[in-house]
C-alpha cells in the first residue's frame, strides 16, 4: 500500500464518519500528483473506500482542486471588488505580460499557471496575490517583474 493510502487512513480516523476525510484526501492526492489526474482520483478513492466517480463529483465543486494539469507554480490574483478598486487588473495584466500567458493559462514550459480567483480575504491589504498559496499583500503592477523573477529562480 502507498504512503498516500496510509495518510488517508490516518485522516479518516479523525472523524466519526470516514467520508469527512474526502476533502483532505483529495488535497493530499493533488499534492502528490500535481493535479487531480484520473490516477490521483483513483488513489484517493481507494484510500477512502469511495468510488473515483464520487471523488470526482466532490472535487469538481471546489475551486482549489485542479481537474487538469497546472504548472509547478501557481499565481493567483484576486480580482474581487476591494482588490480591483486599487488596481488588481493592472497587476493581472503585468503578470500576463511577464509570463506571456492569459489568465487561466500555463506557461509553455509548464512552470507557472496564472489565474484570477475570488476574494482571498485580505481586502485591506490589496492587491492580494497568492504565490503557491502564500499571500503577498499590497502588490502593485510594478512589483510583478521581481515576483516572477523570484518564482523562476525557485527552479
Amino acid at each position: 500500500m502507498s504512503a498516500l493510502h496510509d495518510e488517508i487512513r490516518e485522516l479518516m480516523a479523525l472523524y466519526p464518519e470516514a467520508r469527512s476525510a474526502t476533502l483532505p484526501a483529495l488535497r493530499l492526492a493533488q499534492e502528490k500528483h500535481g493535479w487531480l489526474s484520473p490516477e490521483a482520483l483513483r488513489e484517493a478513492a481507494e484510500g477512502l473506500g469511495e468510488t473515483p466517480a464520487y471523488c470526482m463529483s466532490v472535487a469538481s465543486f471546489y475551486d482549489m482542486f485542479h481537474l487538469e494539469p497546472v504548472g509547478r507554480h501557481l499565481v493567483e490574483v484576486c480580482t474581487n471588488v476591494s482588490c480591483a478598486l486599487v488596481g488588481a487588473q493592472q497587476v493581472l495584466e503585468a503578470f500576463e505580460r511577464e509570463l506571456e500567458v492569459r489568465a487561466g493559462e500555463t506557461t509553455e514550459d509548464g512552470e507557472v499557471t496564472l489565474r484570477t480567483v475570488e476574494c482571498l480575504g485580505g481586502c485591506g491589504w490589496a492587491t492580494i496575490v497568492a504565490l503557491d498559496h502564500r499571500y503577498r499583500t499590497h502588490v502593485q503592477a510594478d512589483d510583478v517583474g521581481a515576483i516572477v523573477e523570484e518564482l523562476r529562480a525557485d527552479g
Binding site: S20, T22, M64, V86
Partner: protein
C-alpha cells in the same frame, strides 16, 4: 473619534499572542478555568447577559443559539461544536487576522463553548486559501496538545476547505465537512437539532468564539456596557477599497461609518472623493456618500435599509462606475452559486448578462426594468441567502445610482477605462477547468 476598546485583539499589539507563554502571561486560559467551575447553563447565562450576537453575519444571539442545543439526556447523540472559519465574503478579512494573531484566545473560546453545550468534539472548518491562519491555529493546538487539563477531553480537528464561498453558509459547511459537495440543506431542521452527522450542532463564527473568553473573564453584564443597546461590545471591522489605511480595526459598536472611514481609515486615497460605501461585505445594500453618518450598529444600519453583515466596509471613490461594480459583484455570486436552487443559479447569470449589455451601451429601458425584475424573482425563493443578497445588493446600486444606470442607455459608459473596475477579469470569465472527458471530433 471613539476610543478603541480592544476585547478580541486585546494585548496583540504589545505581545506575540500566538505563543502560549505570552498568552498565559496576560491571563490566557484563566477564563476557561472560570467557566469550567460553572455549570454549563451558568456559562450560557453569562452569554445571554452579554447579549453577544454572532459575528459571522446573521447577528443571532450566541447564548440563545447555545440554549437550543438539547441536553445530553434529551439527545444521546454526540454534540458537536463546528467553527465557521470559512471567511469568504468580499470585503471581510477579520477572521484571517484573529486566527493569525490570537489563535489561543480563539481556541480558549472553543473550549469554553464546548463546555457550555456539553460537547467533546470541535471541528474548525477553515477556508482552504487561509494557509497562514491555518498554520497559526495548528501551531497553537500543537502547544497545548499534551495538556489534558486544558483540553479536558475535548478534541479539536482543523478541517481545511477547498475553495467555495457557499461553504460559509452553515448547512453547506456541514455538508462539506461530511465530505460532500457544499450545497445548503433545507431548514428546518436547524443544526442545533440535526447538524453534523444528524447530531446536535452549534455552528459559531471565529470572532464570536474569540469574544467568549473576554466575556467570561469580565462578566456578561460588563461586556454589555460596551457598544450600544442591541449591538453590545466590540466588532473587528475590516476596512478596504479606496482608503489611505485599509486594515482591521476593533471598535465599539456605535462609531459612525464616517469615523471608520475618515478617522481610522485615513479618508479616501489620492485625494479623491468618496462616492459610495458597501457597509458589511459585498452582499449588503450600498450606501451613498451622504448616508455615512449612520452609527455602525445593527439597528441603525437596518434603519437605513442595510446591514453590518460580516463587517467588511468597502469605500468606493468617484472614479468607479456603478454598472461595472454591479457586473463584478454579480459575477462573483454567479461563480459561487452552488447551483441547487434555480432562481439563484439562473438569476445571477441573467443579472450579469443584463449588466454587461448595459455597460456595452446595448441595453434598452425595458432591460433595466428586467434587471430589477430578475433580482425580485430571486428574493425569498432559495434555500440560502446567497442569491438573495446578490440581488438585493445589485438592485441597490440601480436604485441609489439610477441616473448613472440611465446614462448607460445612451450608448456608452460615462466612466469607461477611468473606472478601476473596467474590464476586470473575474474567475467566471476564464476557463481554468476544461472538460475532463473531451468529446472526440
Amino acid at each position: 473619534m471613539a476610543e478603541p476598546r480592544l476585547v478580541v485583539l486585546q494585548g496583540a499589539d504589545e505581545r506575540d499572542l500566538t505563543k502560549l507563554s505570552e498568552y498565559r502571561a496576560i491571563g490566557g486560559y484563566d477564563a476557561l478555568a472560570k467557566a469550567r467551575a460553572l455549570a454549563p447553563q451558568a456559562v450560557i447565562d453569562e452569554l445571554l447577559a452579554s447579549n453577544l450576537r454572532g459575528r459571522g453575519g446573521a447577528f443571532f444571539a450566541t447564548g440563545r443559539k447555545w440554549s437550543f442545543i438539547p441536553k445530553p439526556d434529551q439527545n444521546p447523540n454526540p454534540h458537536y461544536l463546528v467553527v465557521n472559519a470559512d471567511e469568504s465574503e468580499p470585503g471581510s478579512f477579520k477572521d484571517n487576522e484573529i486566527l493569525s494573531r490570537v489563535p489561543h484566545r480563539f481556541i480558549e473560546g472553543c473550549l469554553i463553548t464546548a463546555h457550555a453545550v456539553e460537547s467533546k468534539h470541535v471541528f474548525v472548518y477553515i477556508r482552504g486559501e487561509y494557509l497562514g491562519p491555518f498554520e497559526a491555529v495548528r501551531d497553537a493546538l500543537e502547544e497545548i496538545r499534551d495538556d489534558e487539563r486544558l483540553l479536558g477531553g475535548v478534541t479539536i480537528v482543523v478541517h481545511r476547505g477547498a475553495g467555495a464561498y457557499i461553504c460559509g453558509e452553515e448547512t453547506a459547511l456541514l455538508e462539506s465537512l461530511e465530505g460532500k459537495r457544499g450545497q445548503p440543506r433545507s431548514k428546518p431542521p436547524f443544526p442545533a437539532i440535526s447538524g453534523l452527522y444528524a447530531s446536535p450542532t452549534v455552528v459559531n463564527n471565529v470572532e464570536t468564539l474569540a469574544t467568549v473568553p473576554p466575556i467570561v473573564a469580565m462578566g456578561g453584564a460588563a461586556y454589555a456596557k460596551l457598544g450600544v443597546e442591541n449591538s453590545t461590545g466590540t466588532r473587528v471591522v475590516s476596512l478596504s477599497g479606496n482608503l489611505v489605511r485599509g486594515g482591521n480595526y476593533e471598535v465599539a459598536h456605535g462609531i459612525t461609518l464616517r469615523e471608520l472611514i475618515y478617522d481610522l481609515g485615513g479618508g479616501i486615497a489620492e485625494g479623491r472623493e468618496l462616492k459610495a460605501v458597501i457597509p458589511g461585505g459585498s452582499s449588503t445594500v450600498i450606501l451613498t456618500a451622504e448616508e455615512i453618518d449612520v452609527p455602525y450598529d445593527y439597528d441603525a444600519l437596518a434603519e437605513v435599509g442595510t446591514a453590518m453583515g460580516s463587517a467588511g466596509v468597502i469605500a468606493i471613490d468617484d472614479r468607479c462606475c456603478m454598472v461595472q461594480l454591479g457586473i463584478r459583484v454579480s459575477e462573483f455570486y454567479e461563480h459561487e452559486s452552488c447551483g441547487k436552487c434555480t432562481p439563484c443559479r439562473e438569476g445571477t447569470r441573467w443579472m450579469t448578462a443584463i449588466l454587461r449589455k448595459l455597460e456595452a451601451g446595448e441595453a434598452s429601458d425595458s432591460e433595466l426594468d428586467l434587471l430589477l425584475d430578475v433580482c425580485d424573482r430571486i428574493n425569498g425563493k432559495c434555500l440560502c441567502p446567497l442569491g438573495e443578497t446578490a440581488a438585493m445588493a445589485v438592485a441597490s446600486y440601480v436604485l441609489k445610482f439610477r441616473d448613472e444606470f440611465l446614462a448607460h442607455l445612451d450608448g456608452s459608459c460615462p466612466f469607461g477605462s477611468q473606472s478601476p473596475l473596467d474590464g476586470v477579469v473575474a474567475p467566471v470569465n476564464q476557463h481554468t477547468h476544461s472538460p475532463v472527458a473531451e468529446v472526440p471530433a
